[in-house]
């Protein structure tokens, strides 16, 4: 019994560290893409560790399978969501660079426009 609780505490604490890293990452990182990368950490690493911790605490039962389903759903969905957002943001910044480039007549190598 004790081992089960100790393992749960270990995995949940590791999960909490991942969530903390994400928050620090989103606050500290300058560029939009780096910040989105930090957001990706929390979804994959954080939820994986927390789900393992909950599964250990829960044991093999219906709820355990449901927690595994939550983890699988997020684990598959979050990279797709992040990819879509990056693609749109990149296209947006490309479109702005072309407008800025053609309007100002400056060469294509304008400063990297920060994605708003």
């Amino acid at each position: 019994m004790i081992i089960r609780d100790v393992m749960t505490v270990i995995f949940l604490s590791l999960g909490f560290i991942c969530f903390f890293i994400t928050t620090v990452g989103v606050f500290r990182l300058k560029d939009f893409y780096a910040r989105l990368h930090a957001a990706g950490i929390c979804e994959s690493a954080g939820l994986v560790l927390c789900s393992i911790g909950f599964l250990i605490y829960e044991g093999f039962s219906a709820t355990g399978l449901k927690i595994f389903a939550v983890f699988m759903a997020v684990f598959i969905a979050s990279p797709i969501g992040t990819h879509i957002i990056i693609r749109v943001a990149f296209k947006q910044s490309m479109r702005e660079r072309e407008n800025a480039g053609s309007a100002a007549g400056s060469p294509a190598g304008t400063a990297e426009k920060e994605v708003q």
Partner: protein, 96 residues
Amino acid sequence: MEKFMESYFIWYLIGIIVLTLLMLVRLFMNEGVYNRFIGILVMCTNIILILILIGFIDGRRDMYVDIAIAYAVLGFISSVIVAKILGSKGGGGRDH
């Protein structure tokens, strides 16, 4: 031993809620649609964890895990829809 796990979950819940509120502050601090969307994305994952945690504290775990599943799927769908709006000309992605 059970007492310890109970208090551990509660302190864990408080920690996660503090992190989520920090993300909320970040959401309002900087402007720009895409930066705010990151805040929503991270808060959505935090809330999934909060739901499962409350389930474990409350004892009625099945119900909260079901809600967490629904929330995870809805969070993903909302991010796809927001991306679609921003991508099309209509969205524009500008804030002013």
